[in-house]
Assembly symmetry: C2
């Protein structure tokens, strides 16, 4: 429930609600007749006709032909058409800025990549973003009026109400407002949110969201975070800081203190960072492990990828390290399942590149801790989008606003 909902409502509000619902239905069903909408939504036929006419006029829906008759006039099939409007999405990473223009269906028009200039501070990154946005508009050959907004995925704690980025360790930001800064140079509506939540939104709009309305999107990379979707809506918590999954304590007795002073947290033990660190700390007694080999004998070159690769080759030490991490993952996901009772958990990020070995262990370890009455109910899925997950999420940040008629109209 946003601030909007607590305001008084008038007649146009319910039209908007019905429009949103009709559009959602059409988008989800690929092809759909007006009559089918009448049946599924409980609205009257005239109302549906009028709403559909409006959607067609707005160029969000097109007629794509006729369906089979069942003993009467054949239905005219409707389809979502997202090819008339465009959005910009930016994945603002600590090393790379990735950005793209896409249409509302998520088809990329242009793509740009740029090294993030961490040295220059907040102003420098803002000017990089402005530069990227301008370049994208230019290269896409679109008129600015055809672009409905800019969505950004930012690493850090984002307060969704006032647009403040409360804290971002990677960029070393505290209480900065990206929107006011960017708005000084860019006339388009600007939206941003935490990386994990944005990635989850991407799944909601273009990925598993077509099947599930209650799911959690976990980023398993160098760091760990989670974006939570409840009833098809992002879950923020009180300040917008919900889903701090990486800082969950999964092994309180562990003596290792990771970065940020966290002891026994999932991130310090089972992230890309955590796996690499654990290997570095303990390899002393396992000089014959393949890991050191692959790292060219240099401790500092050990990465999570090397550990996983060696585990796949049945290196005993690598297997131990990997198993420890996967135990932590099992406990972490178990907590999500018991507390949120989701339909699915979608996992993205570098660790998913390990492939089936990762998911297999994960499912095994979840079963180990499971609450027997909820057996096998939760789907554990890889993200549909691989490395593009966050960028597609950033695009979806704007698209979801369009689908809810919060921009353009």
């Amino acid at each position: 429930m946003t601030a909007r909902d607590s305001k008084g409502k008038d007649a146009s509000y319910i039209n908007r609600l019905n429009k949103i619902e009709v559009l959602k239905l059409i988008r989800e069903s690929e092809q759909l007749s007006r009559a089918a909408i009448v049946k599924r939504m409980g609205l009257s036929a005239p109302t549906v006709t009028r709403i559909v006419d409006c959607l067609i006029k707005d160029k969000l829906v097109i007629m794509t032909g006729e369906g089979d008759s069942t003993g009467g006039r054949p239905p005219k099939l409707l389809q979502f058409d997202g090819t008339h409007d465009f959005v910009i999405g930016i994945d603002l990473g600590s090393t790379t800025i990735r950005a793209a223009v896409s249409d509302l269906e998520g088809n990329f028009i242009t793509e740009i990549e740029m090294q993030t200039d961490l040295e220059g501070g907040f102003e420098k990154i803002c000017s990089q973003l402005v530069q990227v946005i301008r370049k994208l508009i230019l290269r896409s050959k679109l008129d600015e009026s055809q672009i409905l907004g800019v969505g950004l995925a930012v690493a850090g704690l984002v307060n969704f109400e006032n647009g403040m980025i409360a804290y971002s360790p990677v960029f070393n930001w505290k209480n900065v407002n990206l929107r006011t800064e960017l708005s000084r140079h860019i006339a388009l509506p600007i939206f941003y949110d935490n990386v994990s939540l944005v990635t989850a939104l991407g799944e909601l709009v273009h990925g598993v969201g077509k099947e599930y309305k209650n799911f959690i999107c976990v980023n398993a990379g160098y760091g760990i975070g989670a974006g939570i979707i409840i009833n098809g809506v992002p879950f923020y918590g009180n300040h917008g800081f919900a889903g701090e999954f990486g800082h969950l304590i999964v092994d309180s007795k562990n003596s290792y203190v990771g970065k940020g002073g966290l002891r026994g947290s999932l991130e310090s033990l089972a992230s890309g960072y955590g796996i690499a660190e654990n290997a570095k700390r303990n390899i002393g007694a396992h000089k014959n492990s393949k890991i050191l080999n692959k790292a060219n004998g240099n401790l500092e070159e050990i990465t999570a990828k090397i550990v996983v690769d060696c585990a796949k080759e049945n290196d005993a030490f690598a297997n131990d390290i990997f198993d420890v991490a996967m135990d932590c993952w099992g406990i972490g996901l178990d907590a999500l399942i018991k507390l949120f009772d989701p339909e699915a958990i979608v996992i993205s990020g570098g660790l998913t590149k390990s492939g089936e070995i990762f998911f297999k262990k994960l499912r095994e370890n979840i079963l180990k801790n499971e609450f027997k009455q909820l057996k096998n109910e939760v789907q554990i899925l890889p993200s549909s989008f691989g490395v593009d997950a966050t960028l597609i999420g950033a695009l979806s940040l704007v698209i979801s606003k369009v689908l809810q008629f919060e921009v353009k109209f």
Copy 2:
């Protein structure tokens, strides 16, 4: 979002929404003028007048006099009036059935207590409930038409959509439908839900809910559970099984396997049951502890209360046992804070009777694991209602339906 919301909406839908919001505002503010409602809600003055008239006609609101003028016509003050309608609430416990009739403001009219007959199975408990309900109506001297419904708090997994109780270990029920059974003998609307959720609802309607809209209500008793309130609405999850807090793994390395085969779960280590069991298991090496004394030398008579009492008296072994449990609590609540970002966590149940020693340790242990950026933001509060928390919750189950115009009107 319930099934209702996915249906097409018409004008009366938004009228209902506005009525709910106006009533909520009046209830929360004790005294309020129409003009103040206009300002706070953004509705037009005529609309507010009409809605208030309707609420007065429904006997949910009364005028209680005039406020001070600030240079114009003095405002007529409105107040919530919950004295015209009544509800029945039942706390269906494994040992005791506690039930009460109250008005909509939560004032008890009559109260009944009865031993639960666990031996007789499902039918016997149903007939006990029917008996309790009939006796309550009789003793309250009310006409059945004045009672708006019956609310029950049930221990177990309740599927809120179809009313099935999927699983209840204490009663040994699997997939039973209490509503269809009770409806055969009782004409009133019947509602029920999981104990923890019901207790949370009680806090929402009559307790901390006046101050917080995002909070979690944790039951810390012989067992452990949590009811989650998000944006002033109960959070169910996919099947209605969200908040299975007691089964959270807080010490995966612990070798003890508690009831139900759970290893390292919060409930097996830190519930009333868990604390007593831990004392029983380890007292062998601490024969001189006061615990054995208070338990009359009988291992089986050791309870959590005895352990806590001894800890207060600085018994070393009792302190150890208590500290272990409190460490687990710290980790568990930490998980809730990081995943849900709530405004407050309200704790009810037997362990809170330990008093300040419990809450002090709790706050200390949460700080130990905290994510520094969210420092001290979460309120850790005892329940406002003590032993009545669940019973008041059961009453609130119906009251919340009335306040949302889902019954009576």
